[in-house]
């Protein structure tokens, strides 16, 4: 029995890694203290965007949810997992809508294709302030085709639009496919981890990275929680 199970597991893991019943790391990202008050964005400069909001939107530097959970936190395996052989073929898309970025934090793998769309009636310029990768700055008039590009080094890249200075987002370029971004529940889960020692990193754009080590032995679920210290300003 036992041996058979392991054997099938081994075979499957060789055949298609995606289906291996590996371990899972899951948890919740919270904060302590009082986070900075998010400022309302003044879009009066761009009426075509302003009129899309009933209540003026706020900045997204620190997005919190009920129960002190943190959103937009990138949690990923920063060490232990083998580097990916090849980037996934499907592209990730980054949309400019109502003079904001959707999503605010976009995770992609090195070499994975990035598509930038402009859903607005005004032209934007996309300016990833990359330091390790190549910095570029292209503007995208309404109706022009999507801008397609890729980054080949691991980096958290701050993205901005100079025409609408409040527009701000992040490209999280990772070497691994084991990542997750916390939503309004603040939870994350990294499944399909083969047995081994891993370093899990949680990165928040304002508070920076936090890491924890975890060991996976076979088919189990380890719980790892992250708690950031919030700054009032």
């Amino acid at each position: 029995m036992q041996t058979k199970q392991i054997f099938t597991g081994l075979v499957l893991s060789l055949v298609c890694p995606a289906l291996t019943f590996g371990g899972t790391v899951s948890g919740k990202v919270t904060y302590t203290g009082t986070p900075a008050k998010q400022k309302t964005i003044d879009m009066s400069k761009e009426p075509s965007c302003q009129k899309q909001y009933t209540t003026p939107p706020t900045t997204e530097t620190v997005v919190t949810g009920p129960g002190n959970v943190l959103e937009n936190v990138v949690v990923y395996v920063s060490a232990g997992a083998p580097d990916e052989k090849s980037a996934p073929t499907q592209a990730v898309t980054f949309t400019q809508k109502g003079c904001r970025y959707l999503p605010h934090v976009l995770v992609m793998e090195t070499g994975q294709e990035l598509k930038v769309l402009n859903d607005d009636q005004t032209s934007h310029n996309i300016h990833p302030l990359a330091k390790i990768n190549r910095e570029w700055n292209k503007s995208q008039p309404p109706g022009s085709p999507p801008i397609v590009d890729k980054f080949d080094k691991e980096e958290f890249i701050s993205v901005k639009c100079n025409i609408h200075p409040w527009m701000h987002g992040y490209f999280a370029v990772l070497k691994t496919s084991h990542y997750s971004v916390t939503g309004d529940s603040g939870t994350f889960s990294l499944p399909n981890l083969p047995p081994g020692k891993y370093t899990i990193t949680a990165w928040q754009e304002d508070y920076g990275p936090m890491t924890q080590d975890v060991t996976i032995t076979g088919n189990e679920t380890k719980n790892v929680d992250f708690t950031f210290k919030a700054k009032p300003y």
Binding site: K39, M43, S44, N162, I163, P165, W166
Partner: protein
């Protein structure tokens, strides 16, 4: 062909004058207290320049009309008085024109630049950066927090590089994307350029002033008519230049106080 030239030229000259006379594309109604002087100056100049334009073009047409096609059988006539007349005419006509306009213009210019701002003027700081204007009101304490260029973080809406953590003055500063001002109260606009050269241009205010990096300039003006007007950048500042603008919101004093309170709550 010479006669044709004359006719065409007269037609062009008159046609060019029509929209001016009809005020088809005239400056918008002035809402400032100093603007009328500029408008008068503009009109006077328009009359003098317009007349000399028409006179010169029509004279050219007339002379060409008369002298085209005259052959060697016709004798050459010299303009009565010759060059001397021309020189004197230019000196007298244009000279007086220059003096008149120059002196008048000095007054209009002085209204804008040679009077210092009134001490009780509303102090507003304007910052121009690629590619938006932001405005700052001192808030309750009436003190502006100091600017720390290294702290500027537009993604976090910290456009002026304020440091509320350590700088108490800056905590109640009101930062907005539109410039709201009360009617009939002088506004002292302190101008600061964040990155490259920009300019502050409001047609209705008859105000245009460059933002020069590293140079802290200021203008002061008084608006009289409530309404929403556009502030645009007129100094080439990069790819977003054409879209760099903000709204000037002239409110009645009561509405202005309301607006200020509301903005303060949003900070």
């Amino acid at each position: 062909m010479g006669k044709l030239f004359a006719v065409v030229l007269v037609v062009i000259a008159l046609a060019s004058a029509v929209p001016i006379v009809m005020h088809t594309w005239a400056p918008p109604v002035d809402i400032s207290t100093h603007g009328h002087a500029i408008d008068e100056q503009l009109n006077d100049t328009m009359v003098e320049a317009g007349l000399s334009f028409l006179a010169a073009q029509i004279l050219l047409a007339f002379f060409v009309f008369k002298s085209a096609g005259r052959t060697s059988s016709d004798e050459i006539r010299t303009f009565p008085g010759g060059a001397r007349v021309m020189v004197i005419a230019a000196l007298v006509l244009v000279g007086t024109e220059i003096l008149a306009l120059g002196v008048l213009g000095q007054k209009a210019w002085a209204n804008v630049y040679f009077k210092p701002a009134a001490p009780d003027a509303l102090q507003v700081q304007a910052q121009a950066g690629q590619f938006a204007f932001y405005f700052r009101y001192a808030g309750a304490d009436g003190k502006f927090g100091t600017i720390h260029p290294d702290k500027i973080d537009e993604g976090n809406s910290n456009f002026f590089g304020l440091d509320p953590a350590n700088d108490v003055d800056s905590r109640d500063d009101i930062v907005t994307g539109e410039l709201a001002i009360p009617t009939n109260r002088e506004v002292h606009l302190m101008m600061h350029a964040k990155d490259v050269g920009h300019s502050f241009y409001v047609r209705e205010l008859r105000i245009q002033q460059d933002f020069v990096p590293g140079l802290d300039l200021s203008v002061h003006f008084t608006a009289t008519k409530p309404g929403k007007y556009e502030i645009v950048c007129t100094q080439l500042c990069g790819l977003g230049h054409y879209n760099m603008k903000a709204y000037l919101n002239v409110l009645s004093p009561e509405d202005f106080d309301q607006w200020l309170k509301q903005k303060a709550s949003e900070q």
